[in-house]
Subunit: 210 residues, 2 copies
């Protein structure tokens, strides 16, 4: 099957949306937790969290334009300066998926989707109690992407809170054992099975593949 | 386990690198194929490919600074204006992993890692023959990320070439059936098992989670 740019442009809108959202492969499934100045919590699923650097530790995520629809997550981050990123655990994929419904501003997705907030001292934003990987973020920068009007939101890591036994002495996380899931396209969820682990790729240790 | 910003700053470098590269969850495994003006091919694994928009179809990926080490992928993209993104199939994870070794400029990772290039008419950059999802990209924009000096490279989709049977009539890709894999941290690879599929989250159709 070969789709050209023109095929995509003239394709049915939903077909294009599903296809183009799927072609990058499996994406991480995370819930972003925020709180408003009035103390209203908000929770939203994102598949666009991305690693930007380890020292200092920076993560990014992509938001659609703010002009067309209200973006409670965006507004809360910019006002409060803190947010959380929480891995979606396998038993909670349906709850997490439906946080993307357009709930009213006064409705918290924590309540509507039966997901439980938890807090740590001196950090405003709510974490997801059930999540095996909870990350407390400080907002750093907002980068407009001229090509299509989306926004790259960048933050630095202030806290990493892990389920017991998830990290080993090398810093590796047991994603499969931690019931961490991935997303395909807009609506499919995947569990993980580890199939390989390879060392840092030194030139002198490249296997003979011939 | 709770790591604060200070814990991360004072941690062993490799521990921090492994941990912070793992905390976003599972990442897509893709090979970026490029060619130089002299016709030398290059292939490199990236776990930072990200969806930016569907209409027009835009994808991005993150590169580390170009000042410290040669970045053949970057140079080729900027000069030629075309590149390919190719999903790593399960039987090829070790080959794909070792494309990250620092091969000399005159060495092609296609040859060293026994991965096969393939071409289509009127498109310079090489695709990966064995890949179930091949994407032909036109370079659009380079966005410097001030926070840590990385670069977000943005391109538009010109071609999508899929293995037979991978896409259904709705535009959904069968990632698990296509042997598409994910990456954890810097060196772990995961196969996928589909565990859920949910409809677009309409407010009127949110399940009663209570």
């Amino acid at each position: 099957m070969h789709f050209t740019r023109k095929d995509l442009e003239t394709a049915d809108r939903k077909f294009r949306l599903n296809l183009v959202n799927s072609i990058t492969g499996v994406k991480p499934a995370n819930l972003i937790g925020t709180i408003s100045e009035e103390g209203r919590t908000n929770l939203a699923i994102f598949s666009s969290i991305i690693h930007l650097g380890s020292n200092p530790a920076f993560l990014g995520f992509v938001m659609r334009p703010t002009a067309d629809v209200p973006r409670h997550t965006y507004e809360n981050i910019v006002k409060i300066g803190r947010y959380t990123i929480n891995a979606v655990p396998l038993p909670m994929i349906e709850n997490a998926h439906f946080t993307s419904a357009k709930f009213d501003r006064h409705v918290s997705e924590f309540e509507s989707c039966n997901i439980h907030p938890t807090y740590i001292d001196d950090f405003d934003a709510p974490f997801v109690l059930e999540s095996p990987i909870k990350i407390g973020m400080k907002w750093e920068e907002e980068i407009p992407i001229k090509s299509n009007g989306t926004i790259l939101m960048i933050g630095s890591v202030e806290h990493i809170i892990l389920e017991d036994g998830l990290v080993n002495e090398k810093g590796y996380l047991n994603l499969a054992g931690g019931n961490v899931v991935g997303i395909g396209g807009l609506n499919r969820y995947f569990s993980l099975k580890q199939v390989g682990e390879f060392p840092y790729a030194r030139l002198s240790e490249v296997p003979d593949f011939s």
